[in-house]
Symmetry: C2
Subunit: 243 residues, 2 copies
């Protein structure tokens, strides 16, 4: 049975980390909110999950993965669950724990990237918090982004199984997520990302290898890959980038 992925249909957002894992593994899935409402799909199907009064554990927010009767939210929990089935995580307990730890650090970096344009109010527009956004983005570009990228670089370089992945000798969902983080940072902060990535060649190579995986490459060229835009997590507001 195909997985169901429920996520906002017009942005990559956090759903993209799940989508990349499903695509890289060639797993059958329905991107429900992007399907036709006439077939019971579309945004109403997603919203039914959020408001279902019979659900014992209604998700707090998308992305949501449905696998038969199981409904899971929280990106890192979904990926931890999918990892073994999709063969996107090592089999040993230490490998699973390490991959999850890295994924959660990627999630922290993603949240901080989001907060550059929404530092004081998620319910407000960016236009209503531009001075605050500039302060937050300056620290993010100068301090936080380089710190995160340097940490991922260290993990890759020190991987005892070789510097082609973050954990062990095979591609994991954390590698896919790091690819996506780099994509997003390059979109949102082209100058700052270029400066930081110039010092982290191993994760740039990792990014390029992920992009060249046949299934990922085909996906990125397809219409299933949404373009970045200014409604998602990674937004290009040139005034927030480093000069």
């Amino acid at each position: 049975m195909a997985y169901e992925l429920h996520y906002w249909p017009t942005i990559q957002g956090r759903g993209e980390f799940v989508r990349l894992a499903l695509e890289a593994a060639g797993a059958p899935y329905i991107d429900v909110a992007r399907g036709p409402e006439a077939s019971g799909q579309g945004v109403p199907a997603l919203q039914r999950h959020l408001t279902d009064r019979k659900a014992t554990l209604p998700p707090f927010a998308p992305p949501i993965l449905k696998d038969g009767p199981l409904v899971i939210a929280q990106t890192a929990a979904i990926l931890h669950y999918l990892g073994p089935t999709l063969k996107l995580v090592g089999r040993s307990e230490p490998a699973r724990v390490a991959t999850q730890q890295i994924q959660l650090t990627i999630a922290d970096a993603v949240s901080e990237a989001h907060d550059t344009h929404h530092p004081v109010g998620m319910g407000l527009y960016y236009e209503d918090q531009k001075p605050e956004a500039l302060r937050r983005a300056t620290e993010f570009c100068r301090v936080r982004m380089p710190k995160y990228l340097q940490w991922f670089e260290t993990i890759v370089v020190r991987n005892p199984a070789g510097s082609r992945q973050l954990v062990g000798g095979k591609v994991s969902y954390a590698d896919l997520s790091l690819f996506q983080l780099i994509e997003g940072l390059r979109y949102a902060f082209p100058q700052a990302a270029a400066q930081a990535l110039a010092r982290t060649p191993a994760i740039v190579d990792l990014h390029d290898r992920v992009a060249a995986l046949p299934k990922v490459k085909a996906y990125l060229k397809s219409e299933r890959r949404l373009p970045f835009n200014e409604q998602g997590i990674f937004r290009r507001y040139p005034e927030l980038d480093l000069p």
Copy 2:
């Protein structure tokens, strides 16, 4: 062999979620950074983990759990790992996934509580971002905190195994973490938390039951429980609370 917990010695912070699990389970552990430097403990021992050039996966940040050769960072990953051994999570895969999903949502709420006093710069003092903090805290108190607490209330009320825990019929690490979140919100935002919790009686009851667990009760009365203060995640700045 005793677990080693490495966390900043003067604040509860994110380390407290791990400490509570270890204490509630009666697990032997050494709170390394609070130990004497003369015995190889203290903050230098913590910092060695962060800067160890031989570690293949040096933690990005504390808390850090050491279990023999395994070194794990990221609060939710640590709890997911400890859960089965400490008997603080259900045995089934759906129970483990549900507990982790809730824990990650608690972590999101904790991060947002932190950002009320540090909305634009983690490297800056609160005093350097007070106007921004007031904007962020107002939305947090009015919108985000009630939304999170209402979600936890829903999960508890709908638990098919009874409304005494979040998942299944036994206390899990997510229950302990929800207790700590409520403790922190009441400390930081006494007015706003009282207003929001007045509408969520089931999780107030859950909080009280956790506090009354014999091992938790003994811990909370001990010197091992640090008091809240204005260096941690939950800080009492009265100007940020609702009037």
